[in-house]
Symmetry: C2
Subunit: 164 residues, 2 copies
Amino acid sequence: MDMGASGAKTGGVGMLMRALRSSDREDVLAMLVACGAFNEEEVRAALEILDSFEFTLLGAEVEGKLAGYVCLDRIALTQSTWHVYWLCVHPAMQRRGIGAALIEHGADFARRRGGERLVLETSGRPDYEGARRFYEKAGFQVVGRIADYYRAGDDCIYYCKLIV
Amino acid sequence: MDMGASGAKTGGVGMLMRALRSSDREDVLAMLVACGAFNEEEVRAALEILDSFEFTLLGAEVEGKLAGYVCLDRIALTQSTWHVYWLCVHPAMQRRGIGAALIEHGADFARRRGGERLVLETSGRPDYEGARRFYEKAGFQVVGRIADYYRAGDDCIYYCKLIV
């Protein structure tokens, strides 16, 4: 797969986009824990995905250090729909456009392989309001909602973004 | 896991509910092809799931012959949400309540393990209208829709059914 590194500048931050490597595992674990959005089971699931290397894993490097990553892949039995499974930016590096750049880089990656839309699921909890606002600003639209999906009081919100 | 056989009578048909076995593979393949709802890629995916035995697979037997099956499992990172991945009844055995009995049996199975809701995805295509009517009659409600999800003109409809 073509996951070659490419330079990007967003919000004044010099970013290098590249595929994740096994040696990123420690940095990924640190940012998953530090960002506070994921519970223990979710961190474990994110690491399992990382270790399996069955999905597309794209990282953003800033000043030689991994600042964030996105995990996505085409959904089986669909022709052009890609699922964004994880997006994480180290809290010390947030609000610099890194998340948006990762979404754009992931969208480019998918588009070059025939992708026409990205879908993702996130929580409807009040502490995810920042995440939902981020996705809406990045062009995602709410396409569904399931009450109490994750647990009581924790709804699932379905989002979709056209990338054609 | 407790997937013991249990008797059930619906619409006058004597049904035996039991876990699927490896020896059911040929019957499952025959009904997936015969029912006409699944394309080649979907049939292959359904068989991969069957062969992996990673999911819960429950079958309905009528007069000693496998008449249909349902594949479901708890969704990772959720506390009580189960996904119905496949439901198939041999076309020669449809309209006898076997599909509804399989959904009920799957719901009982999930409920005994803490399940509180079933979710599933199906196509918005006109030839799936019968399937959608079936799910709605079985108590599923539409909770979302993504246009062109499977391919151009083939939307995904998200359904959810409370089982508490």
